[in-house]
Amino acid sequence: MTLWGLMLVCGVLTFAIRYSFIAAEGHYRPPPWFALLLPFVPVAALTALTAPELLLVGGALDVGAGNVRLWAGLVAIVVAAIWRNTLLTIGSGFLALFLLQQL
């Protein structure tokens, strides 16, 4: 059946991507610049995931007052920078979103 075949192929593909460097470790010698990139992976990848969620509304850039997710996100960024606490950050972001939506 095609759907199950497709899921299987996608599963194998996804696993292969996740396994790639883990499997290759020790079997190849990465170029020296490669190690310089790795410390930036978490910050770069997660920011690339998050920024469009805050800045884009319906696929278009929106930095206006009406983009409540952007302003709530900025509140969360400030809270995260000061208190470095996950739950406090999520809580303040939601509170800000809720309050901004009431305006």
Partner: protein, 230 residues
Amino acid sequence: MSPGEAFSIGLRAVMPLLLGVAPFGVIYGVVALQSGIPALAAMAMSTIVFAGSAQFLLAQLVGAGAPFLLAAGAVGLVNLRHALYSASVAPVLARLPQRWKILLAYLLTDEAYAAAIPHLLADARGPQPSRAHWILLGSGVGLWSGWQVSTLAGVLIGSSLPADMGLDFALPLTFIAIVVPMISTRALFAAAIAAGAAAVALAALPYKLGLFLGALAGLAVGAALGRKTA
């Protein structure tokens, strides 16, 4: 640190993220059913593919009757960023037996990686032997379980839920909570700005390629500045 303690660190680190993942999983379940995917297959996709945004895309492509190779290629492109996580954790997993590597690769998602990475860095600086794999296992199992349960909830009850409760905002908030405290140098700050700006600028590209290219832009900028200051 015992393996159990390390596992529990990873598990506890991923718990707040489940707040963001659970609604996402519920919505996936709804979208999958709406795309004409049977409930059993929708659930199976969560274990076989186990990748949130790729599962959304796959469900939509199946619903739209996309060709096999195009659908598989799209899923591969969406998940390309996981290669970065693979490269990032590879050094700390180097000495593990194959079965550990396979298990942890299967469990390597955005959220499990994000939750574990601050603790992996701490573990690398701490006393040896490393418990990094137990930390990753804890966050991976926690996220996996949360994803299966929320997908199931979406498949079972999702169609009766109000469409937008804003709960999906929890995921970006969680990533903010993880990333912001990590930005301790000018190079890391520049990497974040570059990655975010590039991802926004390239958001119109198909298959979420903008996310991957944005991440690469962040890596390049960070490494270029990091070499000067390090």
